[in-house]
Amino acid sequence: VSSAVFFYVTTLLVYFGIDSLAVWGLNLQYGVAGVANLAFILFQAAGAYTAAILTLGPSTGNGGFQEYVGGATLPFPIPIIAGGVVAGVLSLVVGFLGLRRLRADYLAMVMLVVAVIGNELAQSDTGLVNGPAGLALIPQPLQDVLNLSPSAYQWFYVGLVAVICVVVYFVVRRITESPFGRSLRAVRENEHAAAAVGKNVASLRLIVFVVGGVIAGISGALFVQFIGAWSPGGWSYVETLVLLTAIIVGGQGNNVGVMVGALFVGVVFQEGARLLPTTWAPAGLIAALQWIVIGLCALLFLWFWPQGLIPERRRVFPLVPRKHTVDGRETSSVAGAP
């Protein structure tokens, strides 16, 4: 195996792990609790910027060519944890403002606007996180301590991401399989019914919003520490649609399903396009085609397999007569559909 292929494969493994973390976070919000968070990428970006700034050191470093607020050189796990914490706090603020009794589609719009505000702010204010150019030369964790060869370091990072994936998977699973997860699904299926049996819908939504935000922050931090650079062009709001497509393809509400979706959409589609010959196409055409494929993928799955490749397990209690069980995703009354 040539070293180029080796680097490619290990990089893909890291991307897959990071995408899996992200879709677990978003699935918890959208797939399980029905919170339409179109600003998900903003929280990933917040975690990434935090981790970047906490490893870059003061902005006078590297000849002072990039401007940013703060700056520190903290040892390995702290920047990643801080990324999760900052994204969580941001989620708390945004969730508190945005989750106030808004209907799913209305909330989606507000979140879309929030995602664009965040991106605009990062671009307009060059002193905050270096504006449109973004941050670069971000050191990789433990690189100087371990003193590994580049290929050994690739494997080290794959292992690191894998360990974090396993931990987060168990946390997410613990949430979705618990009575708390059942409450979240109740909120998704029918918030009025959930409120009627005594569930605090607003606080359930806010909690899941923050937990998803923390996971987003961790995934962003891991991503930026791996690739070493981060700029607003890489996290426009449509990136959230890629993660949503992964969830729709894999099976919303199913943790294993969405991971398969991340593999399918993130790795097979996006990376598959790289294997196409680039000589016949003008620059940018393949990127445009990739986006078209992502959009078509979301539409086709919503049409033909709305439950996804691996549907969410139907939770039916055998002791209850069939006619009382709630099946299907949407149970709210429908008035006025054309």
């Binding site: 991307y15 959208y30 339409a36 179109l38 403002l97 106030r100 009794r101 808004l102 209907r103 799913a104 589609d105 209305y106 989606a108 719009m109 507000v110 879309l112 606007v113 664009v116 505000i117 991106n119 605009e120 702010l121 671009q123 307009s124 449109p132 991503f223 700029s231 607003p232 062009g233 890489g234 426009s236 449509v238 990136e239 649609l241 890629v242 949503l244 497509t245 729709i248 940018g284 055409l285 990127a287 445009a288 085609l289 990739q290 986006w291 078209i292 992502i294 959009g295 979301a298 539409l299 919503l302 049409w303 709305p306 949407e330 709210s332 009354s333 008035a335 006025g336 559909a337 054309p338």
Partner: protein
């Protein structure tokens, strides 16, 4: 994650560039300050006119058809490209504008018939429809990108001499845009309030099932609503480019966000609220450039929106939208 385009600026960037800066540098007297305010007010009115056109179309689409169409900005830009195709072949810009509006109407109607309405019939609801319209918009935008490339385009037309009235300094074309917007708003007002079709639309928006029971052919009303809102969408796209001078396939994204902000500000689903929201956001963004760095002026729109969400989460003029439980 894909590293996407680096130019993702919202569409309303114009006017503010050279002229104001020059005034600021050359005439730092008290008189110039007043002048500057009125100048910005003039640009604010132009922005507000364009925003009102777009926001009314967007909100009308939602209230009558129950679809939050996030492909709206991309249909706008597709219409602008249709007008460009004509204009670059020598057709007068104002005729191209009409054709652009007609294209917007037909394209929106077609999107509903071919994509949105089948999904709703199949049972896709609320956020599912948001994903459907967002994906459709993504496909349109990137199809345009694949067709025309990432270049910037501009119309060739005579913007007319600069007219100075009461301290305003606007080109004839900008005045025409404001006039057009006022006329279109009046037409929408008369249509909604005084015609059979308008009444049927309002009845369908308020309660489609009841409207059907009263003998209103809601399917036809919804078709008409898509054509009307699509025409507004197309016209807004072309006048946006007449004003901004240059555009590319991704311009629609950013402008849609400002339109959404206006529509939410006015209470989503409220045509008059959307007019008001468009005016507030248009004026706020342009006037803010007087006191803060113009780079932040689009952020002002969002700050206004955040305050509204905090104080009145359903918008300035909302009453129906808060109570309604609808599909799509």
């Amino acid at each position: 994650l894909l590293v996407r385009r680096t130019v993702a600026r919202p569409g309303i960037e114009f006017c503010i560039s050279g002229r104001i800066k020059v005034l600021r540098d050359d005439e730092p007297t008290q008189g110039a300050e007043v002048n500057l305010f009125i100048l910005s007010l003039g640009f604010g009115i132009v922005t507000a006119s364009i925003l009102a056109l777009g926001a009314v179309g967007f909100t009308l689409q939602f209230s009558v058809t129950n679809v939050l169409n996030l492909a709206y900005g991309d249909v706008m830009i597709a219409s602008a490209f249709v007008a460009y195709a004509l204009n670059s072949r020598g057709v007068n810009i104002w005729i191209a504008l009409l054709v652009g509006g007609a294209f917007g109407a037909v394209a929106s109607w077609f999107l509903n018939r071919a994509v949105f309405s089948p999904f709703i019939r199949r049972g896709t609801r609320l956020f599912g429809m948001v994903v459907v319209t967002l994906s459709t918009g993504l496909i349109i935008e990137n199809a345009l990108l694949a067709l025309v490339g990432p270049n910037y385009f501009s119309y060739s037309f005579n913007a007319g001499s600069e007219v100075h009235v009461a301290g305003f300094a606007l080109t004839v074309a900008q005045l025409a845009v404001v006039g057009l917007s006022v006329v279109v708003m009046l037409v929408v007002h008369i249509l909604l309030k005084s015609t059979q079709l308008g009444k049927a639309m309002r009845a369908t928006a308020a309660d489609a099932a009841l409207a059907r029971a009263c003998g209103i052919n809601t399917a036809r009303v919804i078709d008409a609503a898509w054509l009307l809102s699509g025409a507004l969408c197309g016209i807004a796209g072309v006048v946006l480019v007449i004003n901004t001078a240059s555009f590319q396939a991704a311009t629609g994204d950013g402008f849609l966000i400002v339109i959404i902000a206006s529509a939410i500000l006015g209470g989503i689903g409220q045509p008059y609220g959307a007019m008001l929201g468009g005016v507030v956001i248009g004026l706020a963004t342009e006037l803010s450039a007087l006191v803060i760095d113009p780079a932040y002026k689009d952020l002002v729109a969002f700050v206004v929106l955040v305050f509204v969400l905090l104080l009145r989460p359903v918008g300035i003029m909302a009453d129906v939208s808060a109570r309604r439980e609808v599909a799509g």
